[in-house]
Symmetry: C2
Subunit: 250 residues, 2 copies
């Protein structure tokens, strides 16, 4: 029967700007004893990609705008962090004490525009922005490993949800596998047409990988997955974004 | 390094009302060659539990109320289905063509109160309601298998999300593992206190299992998971529900 096997790669070092991420992944795969096969998927934590891409910003160099200062007072957050959130966002959806929910420039509805202050460095005082274009980051890593196998790549992050407690791993970027699989026209075991027509495959896999990554000091930012039971294709993280015109809960 | 291994149980028959679900699961575990170990988790599709619990309703016996008829006109749905949705719901949040989003009596914000018309039977004309109390269903299956090992059990279903396309596997009921893990006070690799404080572990595992279950004619409703890297405890699906007072998007 089908199995899905997720394995954390061993001994990936702290990644810094300009590192050769494909080379580090190759070394970690070898260390873990994994030979990539066609259809395997690598799920990479957003933090690693952001660091490699130099998306680290010193808060001391950020000049908060009047709007950021105002929003910082409402949300009780650092005005320089709020300034970065505003620069990364298309729209602020909710602001109240300890909470800013925005539409990120790239369409994700999320807290703090995905900007993170934890796990950044020991000195503190820095923020880490999301990768500039996670789909491109995925495609780039996929291409750099294409000599090994035809794999899929996901860059994931932890997202809150509107009505449920706790965060879950969610796909920001996708390459080489579907973001969403459309089952329209497929039939169930009794020949009836399915009512659930779209499955967010990349989000389900991002969540599975997140379980193994941990959130704290585990240091397991790259997860190898084998046995994903969906056909490969050129998918994207954009497929997972509901268009604003279809949004009932903004 | 840590691995998470998910395996679909082999040859589970179509479940009907009153079936001995623990016995069917025992047989399927044996057929698949899995000996349960402490800390393993079984993820069971809601449909199987609902069928076993007799939550199947013939639409021909449902008398739609005036409100159901009105809402059916707005949503272009069968008025008898809408009547069942209303009976299962505490509140209707959104209604428009092809969409009803409600708060289920048990607190889930979801489309159609989770009522399903697919995969029910070949004759059609029946609806399948969610299990009456999924946490109790999980606890019951867990207790019935306790002689084999101290396992966790999740009953999952596919949920849509406010801002993202596609459904993902989501935990309705939980027993023997955390619904949400609270990381407050834990520190990251650099000793900084974590900002993300709650992880929806049961939802992440529900999503992972959903990947293997498939949505159509695969017939893989029970998934075995080994290697969940969180300590066991008496969790529940209720932990995953955001209280209405904290809801910013209703």
């Amino acid at each position: 029967m089908p199995s899905l096997i997720l394995t954390a790669l061993e001994g990936l070092p702290e990644v810094v700007e300009g590192d050769d991420l494909p080379a580090l992944v190759r070394e970690a795969l070898a260390r873990t004893g994994i030979a990539l096969a066609d259809g395997d998927v690598l799920v990479v934590a957003q933090k690693v990609v952001s660091k490699q891409e130099g998306r680290r910003v010193a808060l001391s160099g950020v000049e908060p705008s009047a709007r950021a200062i105002e929003l910082a007072a409402v949300t009780r957050k650092d005005a320089r962090l709020v300034e970065l959130v505003l620069r990364e966002s298309a729209e602020v959806l909710r602001a109240k004490p300890d909470v800013i929910v925005v539409e990120h420039r790239r369409g994700w509805i999320m807290a703090n525009a995905g900007i993170d202050l934890s796990n950044v460095d020991a000195g503190g005082g820095h923020a880490l922005l999301l990768p500039e274009d996670p789909d491109a980051s995925c495609a780039s890593l996929r291409a750099a490993l294409a000599d090994l196998a035809d794999i899929g790549v996901i860059v994931n992050d932890s997202f809150g949800r509107a009505w449920r407690n706790g965060v879950t791993g969610t796909a920001l970027g996708v390459a080489g596998l579907p973001g969403v699989v459309d089952l329209r026209g497929r039939r169930d075991r009794f020949g009836r047409e399915l009512r659930t027509t779209e499955v967010a495959v990349a989000d389900e896999l991002a969540a599975a990988a997140s379980l193994l990554m941990g959130q704290a000091d585990e240091g397991r930012p790259v997860i190898h997955a084998r046995g994903v039971p969906y056909a490969r294709r050129d998918g994207s993280g954009r497929e997972l974004l509901r268009p604003k015109s279809m949004d009932m809960f903004r």
